[in-house]
């Protein structure tokens, strides 16, 4: 019925869609983390992309460096996620909190995190070398549905990212800490009045976002390589997604993430990967000019 070319094209497009979905899901994870941090602490973290790589590198150290074979990924995650949490918490308390007392503190935080980004990027280069690393996939192999072939890797990435987001959303809405976080985001003065320890919530939120983005790093590093220099680009991507979705809206971030994941996949397929960034940038400019509050604007 259809020509062979059309069928092949169909398969190629399905591949691109799957790729877009899996990267989109990780972008969603990152966007949620970024919205969380910015919405609650109002601090902008330029080193976000380097935290992404941090997750990948931690996992790499455990798997390739130390040859952790038993237990596989669940063990890796059990070790790396608390580690990321500790790093995030510590960094916030040590580097961000002192700046909050100064005037212009948001700007100072941006500058400081930029320095942090450079520090981490060059540290990675020194410690791990310029060459890119890769992580083995969580699940090898492919799933065949009729004539379509899906790789388990993409499926797992998608499933795990979405699970991460769902777990996070559950925590935000159903736990006391989650409520406290939402309270601080909606009204920091009110939160203090009610007796919520604001500083601790800031640090916790920062830590959670570090875990989320690091987790995303572990997931995506299975598919792509860990590039020590990619911190800046990843941060910009995460921010484009967040801005498109609307800073402060989790649902908006989700939509935007998938849109951008798809866009990147298609542009990359049609023109080549390096044009992905330009497409992103154009999209960003368009958003800022046409609809600055993003897809879903304010609110939680």
């Amino acid at each position: 019925m259809f020509s062979e070319d059309t069928i092949l094209l169909f398969y190629e497009i399905t591949d691109v869609i799957i790729a877009g979905l899996s990267t989109g899901s990780v972008y969603a994870l990152m966007a949620v983390g970024m919205t969380l941090v910015y919405g609650v602490t109002k601090a902008f973290n330029f080193a976000y992309g380097d935290f992404f790589n941090m997750g990948g590198y931690f996992a790499w150290i455990l798997i390739v460096g130390l040859g952790l074979e038993f237990g596989g990924y669940p063990v890796i995650l059990l070790i790396v996620m608390p580690l990321l949490f500790a790093v995030g918490y510590g960094l916030e308390k040590l580097l961000v909190a002192p700046l909050r007392k100064r005037k212009d503190w948001e700007n100072k935080v941006m500058m400081m995190t930029l320095g942090l980004a450079l520090f981490l990027t060059s540290l990675y280069m020194v410690v791990f070398g310029v060459r890119m690393k890769s992580l083995p996939p969580i699940l090898e192999g492919t799933l065949e549905v009729g004539q379509l072939v899906f790789s388990y890797q993409d499926i797992m990435i998608f499933v795990m990212s979405i699970s991460g987001i769902l777990i996070f959303a559950w925590m935000l809405n159903n736990t006391r800490i989650g409520m406290a976080v939402r309270a601080v985001a909606q009204n920091p003065v009110g939160a203090t009045i009610v007796g919520i320890p604001k500083e601790r919530i800031f640090a916790t939120t920062f830590a959670i976002s570090t875990v989320m983005v690091g987790f995303g790093g572990i997931l995506l590093s299975q598919k792509w390589f860990i590039n020590p220099n990619s911190g800046g680009i990843i941060m910009v991507k995460a921010w484009v997604v967040t801005a498109l979705g609307g800073m402060g809206s989790i649902r908006g971030g989700l939509y935007a993430a998938f849109i951008i994941g798809m866009l990147e996949a298609f542009v990359g397929w049609m023109f080549g990967m390096s044009y992905g960034i330009i497409a992103l940038f154009v999209l960003l400019l368009a958003t800022l000019v046409l609809r600055p509050q993003g897809l879903r604007g304010k609110g939680e």
Partner: protein, 320 residues
Amino acid sequence: MRLKHMIAIIGVCYGIMAVLPIFVGDIRFVMNIMIMCLIWAVVASCWDLMMGFAGIFSFGQVAFFVMGAYCSGILAIEHSVPPVLAILMAGLFTAVMGVLVGLPCLKLAGPYIALVTFGVHMALQPVLRGKIGIAIGSGGSVGLLTIPPVSIFGHAFSSANMVPTFYLTLLLSLSCVLVIMFTIKSYWGVAFLALKDSQDFAMSLGISAFKYKLMVFALTSFLTGIIGAYYGHFYGVLSYRMLDLDLFSILMVMMLVGGLGHFPGSVFGAFLVVAGSELMAPLGAYRAVTMGALVVILVLALPNGVMGLFIGRRKRLSAG
């Protein structure tokens, strides 16, 4: 800071610079560093004017520098435009780009401006490296290798004759810095202080934030573009690697050391940091790590940079 003090500090810095060739004129290595100091002083001061003074959090300064450099280089190589003219045209081009970037940015709040301009910076790299860049003559990943030096009345100012080139650079650098100083001290300057303190009130007085901010974008990108173009003609070589975060952070360190918003701290900061960075060259790959750590430490520990020490002392004197 009073005009007198600003002039004094600039005078001292440039004065010392002007005299140094007498002692080290034949040490190429040192002369090279000094020329770099002078060039970066302009960029750092422009960035300080933008961020510290006008309060616009733009991360696009390096991008404009590179744009100016490439523009002038391409004009000179591909289109045989004489370097002096090319530099001027590059400055104008960069100014236009500055306005184009500024127009959408200025409607946004702080972090957004930073990110859009940072995005410009990040997007510039693939453009220069990729097909578009090659098409206009950027040399792709190789870059430009044969930029002709500035020549005035037949005299070429290149690394072949350092001393005259040095003085030309000094003149250019000083002029740019003086332009910035007069901007700060002029009516514009007062307007900016008002805008920074209380935007709503200033606007009610008829001070158009938008207009002034756009002018700052134009002015700083013009100056940065010019000095970037000059850099290209001096060095003769350009590469997209200038856009790495390395340079970016070094510039930040210059401003932080000098003290954000405390002009002419960034001039002083530039001199200090360029010299220090050269001293750190043996660290190799660790240099960037140190730079990054320095930025973090400086933001936390020295909110007003070196100028802060100076101001602090004066305050204490007047209080006591």
